[in-house]
């Protein structure tokens, strides 16, 4: 990369010493009907050349809005209520559109949130990167093309000419993010705003993408504003951490200081709830296991084919009663298909599955039904798993009605209601939620409703399909705590499907690592995590963000 400092200085005039980016007393609001809702309040920070500032916060905290405000790209109903953004000492937040456009992409660029939708689906990726050069340089077509080839090599593509001509849908999520990074650095900006650059990517890909951003930053002396919900990523990759809560900067501190000794209470709360720091003292009811020694779940040589594609490839495992068995893997590893087979939503192609002693691998949906009294599932996205017309009572009551004679619902109204209330209480929700609609609830509350639904029948086995991956960190911890408590109270058996190794480590007894449909390794949790037998497991472990957090 030809982006050495000298060249940039020649282009822009010598940058004045001092921060490259300064945000001062920034407030942003959204116009909603006749009122304005303030989402960013009096934020100030400064960024020196080459520094990385991580803005961490939970969803709705306003951290992304700060990023948009820096770029001057608030949504149509967004307003700058006060304060300023200064770039190299020059206030840019009040510049007219045309002048601001010249800075965007050239001085301050963006690595967007979701690579799958951030590229134009009907244009080849090469020309899309070229846009930056076309807008900000006088290079001719041939030179631009050569430069894009260089950039593609820089972000780690081998076959640059072929990549240049490919369409976004021909690339994986990680590769698309590389393209977007290439575009972000194409004009050698001084500041990059990286807005959740790895959300939705698998852990190993996430690590590669973050390494790439790190590497480019170091080479070009670029400053980065890294917006993330992941404290682990923030801790590993930044010089400064800013904790955003309700639009305010709760704490702004050098990363090392922040990790060791957070001053703000909310920061401490966040840090304490990071999955890698969680540990649960589990008190298992010992009585249930000894009464019936047979395993809760037994899977032998299970396979599932979709057409020519093998989703699950000859896996076997056993889950003892009252225990938590976790299946970890990246997307496409077959872990969700396994969950669907266990809950009778999909039929296996080959192999045996026995649940609580009943052979189910070959049962169709109808024949599976009696078993559902004992085997329930909690989905990743609770909201999508609720009928949009139902209130909380109807949602949680549904499994009860399913196993009562049709038409008896009216007679059993009071009884069902009481059982629903009991289930809600078990999930730490008040009875006043009965007639609330799920759309009025927060993500964590929705997941509690989903858990109440799964528990209302008092099942023995619960399959948890990524139960917390859509939730904020602190909520994640609460839900995990709830699940652990319910397990010890009710003697439940859990099959946990997750991509998050830290979560798995926190609550499971045994772990199976899946890759491309097969189980790479399985064993006691401690053993798999301490001394992984498979190199793939080791690679997964290595990709966990937040090592700096775990060591304390």
């Amino acid at each position: 990369m030809s982006g050495d400092v000298a060249q940039r200085a020649a282009r822009d005039g010598t940058p004045p010493p001092g921060p490259v980016l300064a945000v001062e007393d920034l407030s942003v609001g959204y116009q909603l009907g006749h009122s304005t809702k303030t989402v960013v309040r009096n934020i100030s920070f400064e960024l020196e050349p080459g520094q990385v500032l991580a803005l961490v916060g939970e969803s709705g905290s306003g951290k992304s809005t700060i990023g948009h405000a820096i770029l001057g790209l608030l949504p149509a109903n967004g307003r700058l209520l006060g304060g300023s953004v200064r770039y190299q000492g020059r206030t840019i937040s009040d510049l007219p559109g045309g002048q601001l456009r010249e800075l965007r992409g050239r001085a301050i660029s963006l690595i967007p949130q979701d690579p799958t939708v951030s590229l134009d689906p009907v244009r080849r990726v090469g020309p899309q990167v070229e846009d930056v050069l076309r807008l900000h340089t006088g290079l001719d077509g041939e030179a631009r093309r050569r430069r894009v080839h260089e950039l593609f090599a820089l972000v780690g593509f081998d076959d640059v000419e072929r990549r240049y001509r490919q369409f976004p849908h021909e690339l994986s999520g990680g590769m698309r993010q590389r393209v977007l990074i290439a575009a972000a650095v194409a004009a050698e900006p001084d500041v990059i705003v990286a807005d959740e650059p790895t959300s939705g990517l698998d852990a190993t890909v996430q690590a590669q993408v973050l390494d790439l951003i790190d590497d480019l930053r170091r080479r070009g002396g670029t400053s980065v504003v890294l917006i993330t919900h992941d404290l682990g990523v923030a801790a590993d990759r930044s010089d400064l951490v800013g904790v955003v809560r309700d639009g305010r900067l709760a704490e702004l501190a050098p990363t090392g200081v922040f990790v060791q000794n957070p001053r703000d209470e909310y920061s401490r709360h966040l840090l304490d709830n990071v999955p890698s720091r969680l540990s649960f003292t589990r008190d298992r009811g010992s009585g249930t296991a000894s009464e019936d020694p047979g395993p809760a779940v037994e899977v032998r040589h299970l396979s599932k084919h979709y057409g020519g594609h093998t989703a699950v490839d000859d896996i076997s495992f056993t889950v003892a009663r009252g225990q938590t068995f976790s299946i970890v893997g990246e997307s496409g590893s077959g872990k969700s298909t396994t969950a669907r087979i266990l809950t009778g939503l999909t039929r296996a192609t080959a192999g045996r599955v026995s649940l609580l002693g009943t052979e189910v691998g070959t049962l169709d949906t109808k024949a599976f039904r009696p078993l559902r009294r004992d085997v329930q599932i909690v989905f990743q996205n609770p909201y999508a798993s609720f009928d949009p017309r139902f209130d909380v009572l109807s949602v949680v009551e549904e499994p009860l009605r399913s196993f009562q004679p049709a038409g008896s619902a009216r007679r059993r109204r009071q009884e069902n209601r009481d059982r629903v209330v009991a289930a809600l209480e078990a999930a730490s929700l008040p009875a006043s939620f009965l007639h609330r609609h799920p759309r009025e609830l927060s993500g964590g509350q929705r997941q509690r409703v989903a858990i109440a639904r799964a528990l209302v029948l008092e099942p023995k086995v619960v399959v948890l399909d990524e139960p917390i991956s859509a939730l904020d960190v602190s909520v994640q911890a609460q839900i995990l705590e709830l699940l652990v408590r319910l397990q010890s109270e009710l003697g439940l058996t859990y099959v946990l499907i997750s991509h998050d190794l830290a979560v798995v480590r926190a609550i499971s007894d045994r772990v199976a690592v899946m890759r491309r449909g097969g189980i790479v390794e399985q064993g006691e949790t401690a053993q798999v995590f301490e001394s992984p037998a498979s190199p793939y497991t080791a690679q997964l472990l290595g990709a966990i963000a937040g090592r700096r957090l775990a060591i304390r």
């Binding site: 992304s64 999508a384 017309r389 399913s402």
Partner: protein, 299 residues
């Protein structure tokens, strides 16, 4: 927008309007404010109410008979006695427009009912059972949709004969293919949704899934097509009548009135303009309301 998670929920606004409606006076003010902000919806509603009243009780609005021939009153210009003038047989044009509402509106109701009935049977069968039933129904829909719609309606009129009911049936049958396709895809969407999967996983019977989840959730989009189809049906029936293939003389119908007046367009444009504007106004009002409800549903 990628920042939705950070945007405050839009439901805040809805709650505000609900909160101010505590007292009856407060409610009146709230309704007034709503009406001012949604004046076009209010106007559209008023137009439709008048049109429906015309159809139900035309006597309230027009005192002279729509078919009484006045030998001395031929082709009179609009006046206080004959608001829209008189036609070539001396009939009061305003009265004919008012009485024409019944044919046009009942025709479109019949058309939509037929379209929905036929369409939902085929669409629901295809969407729910899938497999070969779906394949057969889809091919059938393909074929029906491959004949330009209005032409198909004309062809059906050839079979059924002339008359407002026949025209309505022709329009309804033609539109049933579009209904069938929409209902099929809605049923399919609901059937493959995660909440249905969750219901199945929690042990629900398939009848429960169908009646408690799939049908109610397929209804919304279907209703919104129904409201749109009303307008389209009015236009098509009027067009058929305009071509002489719908309502037959002497019964008044809006398209028919326009066709009758067309010969006098150069000298007596009012004979054409009033019925023509009436059709346009009613359809426009219907579509405005349809869009309003579609927008509300989205929220």
């Amino acid at each position: 927008m990628t920042t939705t998670a950070e945007n405050p929920a839009p439901s805040v606004e809805a709650r505000d309007t609900g909160g101010s409606a505590k007292t009856s006076r407060g409610r009146a003010i709230a309704i007034l404010l709503w009406s001012i902000r949604h004046w076009s919806v209010v106007v559209a509603g008023a137009v439709l109410v008048v049109a429906v009243l015309w159809a139900l009780v035309p006597g309230w609005f027009a005192h002279s008979s729509p078919t009484a021939i006045g030998a001395t009153d031929k082709l009179l210009p609009p006046s206080s006695a004959h608001w829209f003038g008189t036609d070539r047989l001396g009939r009061d044009q305003y009265s004919r427009v008012v009485h024409g509402a019944r044919a046009s509106l009942s025709g479109s109701v019949v058309a939509v009912l037929i379209g929905v009935a036929v369409g939902s049977v085929f669409g629901a069968l295809a969407g729910w059972f899938g497999r070969w039933i779906d394949a057969v129904v889809m091919r059938l829909i393909d074929v029906v949709l491959s004949i330009p719609g209005f032409l198909l309606a004309i062809t059906i009129v050839v079979v059924l004969g002339y008359g407002i009911l026949q025209a309505a049936a022709a329009v309804g049958l033609t539109s049933s293919a579009a209904f069938a396709r929409l209902i099929r895809s809605e049923v399919l969407r609901a059937r493959t949704s995660q909440y249905v999967e969750a219901a199945v996983a929690s042990g629900a019977r398939s009848s429960t899934v169908l009646l408690r989840h799939v049908v109610p959730n397929s209804l919304g989009p279907t209703l919104s097509l129904v409201t749109i189809q009303f307008g389209i049906s009015i236009i098509w029936i009027a067009s058929l009548s305009f071509l002489g293939l719908g309502a037959q003389p002497p019964s008044p119908e809006w398209g028919r009135l326009v066709a009758d007046g067309r010969n006098f367009l150069a000298s007596k444009p009012y004979l054409v303009v009033y019925p023509a504007l009436t059709v346009a106004a009613v359809v426009l009002a219907g579509n405005r309301l349809a869009r309003h409800f579609a927008e509300r549903q989205k929220r």
